[in-house]
Symmetry: C2
Subunit: 134 residues, 2 copies
Amino acid sequence: MSEAEEIETAQAANTAFYHAVAEGDYPAMAQLWATTVPVVCVHPGAPALHGLREVTQSWRVILADPPGLTHSSSRVAIVRGLAFVTCLEHIGNRTLAASNIFVWEDRDWRLVLHQAGELPPLDTETSTAGNRLH
Amino acid sequence: MSEAEEIETAQAANTAFYHAVAEGDYPAMAQLWATTVPVVCVHPGAPALHGLREVTQSWRVILADPPGLTHSSSRVAIVRGLAFVTCLEHIGNRTLAASNIFVWEDRDWRLVLHQAGELPPLDTETSTAGNRLH
């Protein structure tokens, strides 16, 4: 697969991830995570979850009441055969910055890490608060 | 290098990262980032920064007034030769969840991705607010 194809298929995997979230499709979500490497998921405002069982269980709970999430501005880099995808997530008028990292496994891209963190609202003076932390 | 050695040296690289933050040591920080692969940094409450120049410039600004940050609970997994480190960051009474991903480059671990997001205070009813987003 050329790097252009790797990028295109990783974009598709990232879209499939957000489709599963939007649809509350737990089986599709569970299928998207890697099974042969350790996986990590850092939901906004929460500590890291480790391991397939803990990660998929968190999504089972979340997808029982899907958060109405869309995504934009996705960008893919291939690093040593892994796909690093960054994008923005949108829930109502809230925006989050997300990183989704995929490994190639069983002829498809599978998630090894997802982390999302909320951005402050653009229209308040808190909009640069995050940078004060580090 | 055995996987145990990979984990031990990745822990050391992660510690070096936080040492550079605590000391406001910009040259050490700049040295820690990979130069042969695309790098990403997602500061808390901010969108992703892409590329070595943009990422190191953000740290130059931050380290001019070091945030007094410590870390704990670090955990390393080696995934296809990359080191995935998760840990908690502490700034005063604030806690953040961080992911630091390193590639082996030029005989050392170098950062390819850093993302940190703040956890809500434990002593308020907002402590599970993050999970409401997704």
